[in-house]
């Protein structure tokens, strides 16, 4: 139970200064190691004494994990680059404004100064039963306390729930999926590059993790190709208060118009499931359609097909429908007519 705050359990702190050194430590300690990026998720766990790793590997001293570089026809952002650095980078602002929009809606300025892009996409869910240390599925147990008639599940999943109904809280994740980003992983077997959407996994695959990182693996960088550079971007985050809050839902889209028609589009939402969802069916359905209210409504309805609300989160279905509609037809066209 989360009763002893601010007194972290004892652990060995390692502060490597190079990637090989960090990798060696992670391989050496395996599941007992905890990767520390900005610390904003980690310190909650540690201070609440819910996670008790034997070794903490602090990545803040590894310079090669920081910074934004041009690479080929796109850019590469080191996993330890702070959200503020991402927001202030001229190339990101000029070509990949979607990521800037998403990053600047993360929490508060202080948190963005400390929080990293790698940490933001790799953070754990905020389900309070899980964060409270209850022995739920995600914590290795055999129950979901949120998915019960009495459970407090206003923030939880409406799609792809599988025993656990927690959601992914990242704001930058859907933006990176919409930008067709690639995540660069260092694993004991070597470097591995995965599509942004494949970095995240749902409970049906692994109920204890939100991403594919295994013990010993490290997210080192995020590459954004130029495929969607300069496209029309849309990011909207709905939260209970306007600062320092996690999304109830967010939507990110990149669209290229061909005249008044939608030439191509990528769109993703987060807060609806345990992983950010790329809405492939919506992308296919709107391709070649005019960018107007009718297309937006059609896409909105399509996006929530299969949604199963819990006791207290049915509002997320019209919310997601509207966000998708707004992402496609624009805010000024967003009045729902049906």
């Amino acid at each position: 139970m989360a009763v002893i705050r601010d007194v972290m359990p004892a652990f060995e702190l390692y502060q490597p200064t190079s990637l090989p050194e960090a990798q060696k430590l992670l391989e050496q300690h395996g599941p007992d190691a905890w990767v520390l990026a900005g610390g904003l998720d980690s310190f909650d766990w540690l201070k609440d004494r819910i996670k008790k790793p034997k070794a903490v590997v602090d990545l803040s001293g590894i310079e090669e994990l920081r910074g934004i570089r041009t690479r080929g026809d796109g850019i590469e952002i080191g996993a330890m680059t702070t959200l503020t650095e991402v927001m202030n980078d001229s190339i990101v602002k000029q070509k990949y404004g979607l990521l800037v929009q998403a990053a600047e809606l993360v929490a508060s300025p202080q948190i963005r100064n400390q929080g990293t892009l790698g940490g933001n996409v790799s953070q754990d869910t905020r389900c309070w039963y899980y964060r409270g240390g209850w022995p739920c599925y995600r914590a290795g147990g055999n129950i979901c306390y949120a998915d019960t008639p009495e459970g407090r599940n206003r923030e939880h999943a409406i799609l792809h729930a599988d025993r656990c109904v927690a959601v992914n809280p990242s704001d930058t994740a859907p933006a990176l999926i919409a930008l067709d980003a690639k995540f660069v992983l260092r694993t004991p077997k070597g470097e591995r590059v995965v599509d942004a959407e494949d970095y995240f996994i749902g409970p049906e695959i692994d109920i204890t993790r939100l991403h594919i990182l295994q013990p010993g693996d490290l997210l080192t960088a995020i590459r954004i190709p130029s495929t969607w550079a300069g496209a029309q971007f849309y990011f909207e985050k709905v939260r209970d208060r306007n600062v320092w809050d996690f999304p109830l839902l967010n939507v990110a889209s990149a669209m290229v118009l061909s005249g008044s028609m939608i030439g191509r589009m990528r769109i993703a939402v987060n807060g609806a499931a345990a992983r950010p969802l790329r809405l492939k069916a919506v992308e296919d359905a709107v391709r070649g359609q005019p960018r107007n209210t009718a297309t937006g409504e059609m896409a909105g309805k399509l996006s929530v097909q299969g949604a199963v609300p819990l006791q207290f989160n049915a509002y997320k279905i019209p919310l997601m429908r509207n966000l998708v509609k707004r992402a496609i037809s624009g805010v000024e066209e967003a009045t729902w007519t049906s």
Binding site: M1, W134, P135, A139, G140, G141, N142, I143, C144, Y145, D147, T148, A161, D162, R163, I201, E204, I205, D206, V308
Partner: protein, 290 residues
């Protein structure tokens, strides 16, 4: 080394949540060890089996060329059960050893198929087949004692030939019943914790402790089934048991094997006029218990 994993419930109670997953490997290794030891024993140490007296020539003359052993219905049950059992074992344990895929839906569907097939089997075996043929009788126990004494080099008369099922088969069936019913009964309740088409989720059906024990029993029976299924497949593939395996595919075994292993007095079969490929199940001794 803990055989169970424990957690603290929201009410501060220490409750078991499931078995420790290393028991999967314990079951696999135990199963493999059994196979290896048995194969070595049979290859190098086992003596030729001896049985007490043969059947009279009059009885032998009445034995048909093909002995009906399993009806089509019973064979279908066996293979449906086998398919669902393999699906259950793979979907349950592969994710635990690192092969990750969306397993829950396949698992509860296979569990439903297994449950329905077992319920059918219980009714079928109780009402239409010779229910008692799969349970050990006094002769089995007497013969087992004789076989133990002879194995240990002590004087004992040779045992009789088997009825329809050897004692080992009957004991295996008994253990399968225990494990199978354990996973089925616990599994049916556990389905109330996932989304299925059958009933609404209700994770508060039992107390945390009862649920924990249920998960532990489900897990223990599950890993037990890993070893049992390995043994079953092994015996099904052994050359000297091939006639029995073939009977589970085609429904009959040949006369030679029958006379060699089985006592016509204990497992009565039809006369030569009986159709050798008939799927009808008639009379005592034609039960199928998987």
């Amino acid at each position: 080394m803990d055989f169970l994993e424990w957690a603290t419930s929201p009410w501060g109670q220490s409750v078991p949540i499931h078995i420790a997953w290393f028991l999967i490997w314990v079951a696999v290794i135990a199963g493999l060890l059994f196979l290896i030891v048995h194969a070595i024993y049979v290859m190098y140490f086992a003596k030729a089996r001896e049985f007490a007296g043969d059947a009279s020539p009059q009885v032998v003359a009445q034995i048909p060329k093909r002995i009906p052993r399993h009806s089509l219905v019973a064979r279908l049950f066996h293979w449906i059960m086998a398919a669902s059992m393999f699906t259950l074992l793979f979907t349950a344990f592969l994710p635990k050893v690192g092969v990750q895929f969306p397993w829950v839906t396949y698992h509860w569907i296979a569990g439903t198929v297994l449950t329905v097939s077992i319920v059918f089997h219980i009714i079928h075996a109780s009402c239409w087949l010779d229910f008692w043929s799969i349970w050990p009788d006094r002769i089995d126990l007497d013969d087992a004692w004789k076989r133990v004494r002879r194995f240990l080099g002590m004087p004992a008369p040779p045992p009789q030939k088997f009825a329809k099922y050897p004692l080992e088969n009957k004991l295996f069936h008994g253990v399968i019943i225990l494990c199978g019913l354990s996973v089925i009964l616990t599994g049916v309740f556990m389905m109330s914790r996932v989304r299925t088409i059958f009933f609404p989720r209700n994770p508060y059906l039992f107390s945390d402790m009862t649920w924990g024990l249920m998960y532990v029993l489900h897990g223990l029976a599950g890993v037990g089934l890993i070893a049992l299924v390995m043994m079953h497949v092994y015996f099904g593939l052994r050359p000297e048991k091939r006639a029995i395996t073939k009977a589970m595919i085609f429904g009959w075994m040949d006369r030679g094997f029958y006379l060699e292993e089985h006592d016509p007095e204990r497992w009565k079969v039809g006369t030569p006029s009986s159709s050798p490929t008939s799927n009808r199940v008639e009379g005592r001794g034609l039960t199928d218990a998987g």
